[in-house]
């Protein structure tokens, strides 16, 4: 079996067995969907839940990635690194295992959101649309989890990493197109919202659910992902024990 998959399966089992971490990862995004989707008074659409679902999906991917980044730090602090590095598989497979498991965690959480959204009255996507949505989420998950693992490796310490992610998450979400269309945003927010990487993912999902193919956005995501992963590998090779 491939080492990347072996590392990934180990982290998945640890996640499932760590009961509360797993439960909260499933409940928290659902809470977001319900409170934001059903409670906010909006006038620009009559099915706000349908509008906000792509935003919550991407937000969930973001928070899954933030949590996933911590995995690599914990492995280092707890001394697993030392053991893994002395094994025959290439060292990068540790890194790719983390990116894979983080992406999978995000996808599992997104699936819960999607099912819940359909139950709460969002019009069900066609199978082709669902495939498109997952494709974007997987791509975006890879991108974000390599960003967070890069961040984690360069910060190298758990508390500081947690502080940095807490600082980034909220602003990133609220300056994206998750909550409202560009036309309803205040003037000053439009430019940051357009360049916000979350918006790229959110807008592509909206395009897909509207029956379009967001080729350009997907290309941007692919290029960004390749770029970040290659930086990540370089950093990882240099990391000290």
């Amino acid at each position: 079996m491939n080492a990347i998959i072996i590392y990934c399966v180990r982290d998945l089992i640890r996640w499932f067995r760590g009961k509360w971490g797993f439960i909260s990862a499933l409940v928290a995004p659902a809470a977001w969907l319900i409170f934001v989707g059903l409670a906010l008074p909006v006038t620009f659409t009559d099915n706000y839940l349908a509008f906000v679902t792509p935003g919550i999906l991407v937000m969930t991917t973001l928070s899954a990635s933030m949590q996933g980044g911590a995995l690599i730090i914990m492995d280092k602090i707890l001394g697993f690194y030392n053991k893994f590095m002395a094994l025959p598989p290439s060292r990068e497979s540790i890194l790719f295992g983390k990116i894979l498991v983080t992406t999978i965690r995000g996808i599992i959480q997104s699936t819960i959101i999607l099912v819940l959204a359909f139950l709460l009255g969002v019009p069900i996507y066609s199978p082709l649309q669902i495939i498109g949505v997952y494709l974007i989420l997987i791509l975006f998950g890879c991108l974000l989890s390599s960003v967070t693992t890069t961040l984690a490796i360069s910060i190298g310490e758990h508390d500081s990493y947690a502080a940095v992610t807490a600082m980034i998450t909220m602003p990133l979400f609220f300056t994206s197109s998750a909550m409202m269309p560009y036309s309803s945003m205040p003037e000053w927010l439009r430019i940051p919202a357009h360049i916000n990487p979350l918006s790229i993912a959110i807008d592509s999902i909206r395009d897909v659910t509207a029956g379009l193919i967001p080729g350009q956005s997907i290309l941007i995501l692919v290029i960004l992902t390749i770029f970040v992963v290659s930086i990540n590998v370089k950093l990882f090779r240099r990391v000290k024990l």
């Binding site: 079996m1 080492a3 072996i6 590392y7 180990r10 089992i13 640890r14 067995r17 760590g18 707890l78 001394g79 697993f80 030392n82 053991k83 893994f84 590095m85 002395a86 094994l87 025959p88 598989p89 290439s90 024990l241």
Partner: protein, 319 residues
């Protein structure tokens, strides 16, 4: 004897600090102990042999393979159990071993896992979560992980630290049986007595330099004579008693070296009484590796009596 591990002029600097200084060792098919106080460079040496740290200077090879040029190849021949334990407490013992079997790419992971778990006496508890394991069991589980791919060389960094006496003995029993099966075991420790009892050969390391490398028996012949230990209440001034060498003092306990222990202890007894002090206890014993180590380190410095208590702490001597 063919060499399994060779270090030539092996050196590692951390910034200005020289952690390992021009090490030259040659390890055959044996239990080889790297013995020295904390901070002497043992872990650094192991990290270089296991390809985790690049030497600043010099070369190291494992089974004839250079660790810098072919790290991946080297890693296929070795197993490494670091000083600090790292096990997945939410996985069972069996899952922990199976995980390593798969990472090593062994051909029948399930069978091999069951086999090593049996060998290390963990079968009964193999399906319990590691959370519930004692320290000794965890160490054995780490050994099982390391042995699951049947390595040619096993590196153990302080394998018995923090364990109770029974658990320690069990670990050493396993290590010795591995050697019988033909494995080379490179083990670091700061417990002199354990190295004495279990290693075929020992290298004394202090401040990054190998001071001496030999079998425990020949090392002990470096000091000839008896060790006399006296517990004296009061301020004993050691005026030269002929043929007796002062070795060190720890609180009230003073250690001497002499050719004839019986005669020397009589002389010491008399001297203590003549100084008007009380002698609480006096006994003669054979030199241990501790004494040899102190003697060797002492030789390289001056002849001023060294402070035993600092050294005992460094040596982690358990009393």
């Amino acid at each position: 004897m063919s060499s399994t591990l060779i270090a030539e002029d092996l050196t590692c600097n951390y910034g200005n600090l020289c952690a390992v200084d021009s090490m030259n060792i040659d390890v055959g098919n044996e239990i080889f102990g790297l013995l020295g106080p904390n901070g002497s460079g043992k872990t650094t040496t192991v990290l270089m042999f296991t390809t985790l740290l690049e030497p600043t200077k010099g070369t190291a090879s494992v089974c004839g393979i250079d660790v810098v040029k072919y790290p991946k190849k080297v890693r296929e021949h070795i197993s490494y159990v670091p000083q600090d334990m790292a096990l997945d407490v939410r996985l069972t013992g069996r899952e922990n071993v199976r995980f390593f079997a798969e990472l090593y790419g062994v051909s029948r992971p399930k069978e091999m896992t069951d086999e090593v778990i049996g060998v290390l006496d963990l079968a009964e508890r193999a399906d319990d979560y590691v959370k519930t394991y004692s320290g000794g069991m965890r160490r054995r589980l780490e050994l099982a992980q390391a042995l699951v791919h049947d390595p040619q060389v096993l590196f153990l960094d302080e394998p018995t630290v923090g364990l109770d006496v029974a658990a320690r003995r069990k670990i050493w029993d396993h290590i010795r049986s591995l050697k019988k099966k033909g494995m080379t075991v490179f083990v670091t420790t700061h417990y002199m007595d354990e190295a004495d009892r279990n290693c075929d050969r020992i290298a004394f390391i202090d401040k990054g330099r190998v001071r001496k490398c030999d079998t425990p028996a020949s090392l002990k012949t470096i000091i000839s004579g008896d060790i006399i230990v006296a517990t004296i209440k009061g301020n004993f001034s050691f005026s030269n008693i002929p043929d007796i060498r002062f070795i060190g003092q720890q609180e009230d306990e003073i250690t001497f070296l002499a050719h004839d222990g019986q005669r020397a202890s009589e002389l010491i007894h008399r001297e203590v009484l003549s100084q008007g002090l009380t002698l609480h206890s006096l006994y003669v014993r054979k030199p241990t590796l501790d004494d040899v180590f102190l003697h060797l380190v002492d030789d390289n410095e001056d002849t001023r009596p060294m402070n035993m208590s600092t050294y005992r702490n460094m040596l982690g001597k358990r009393r």
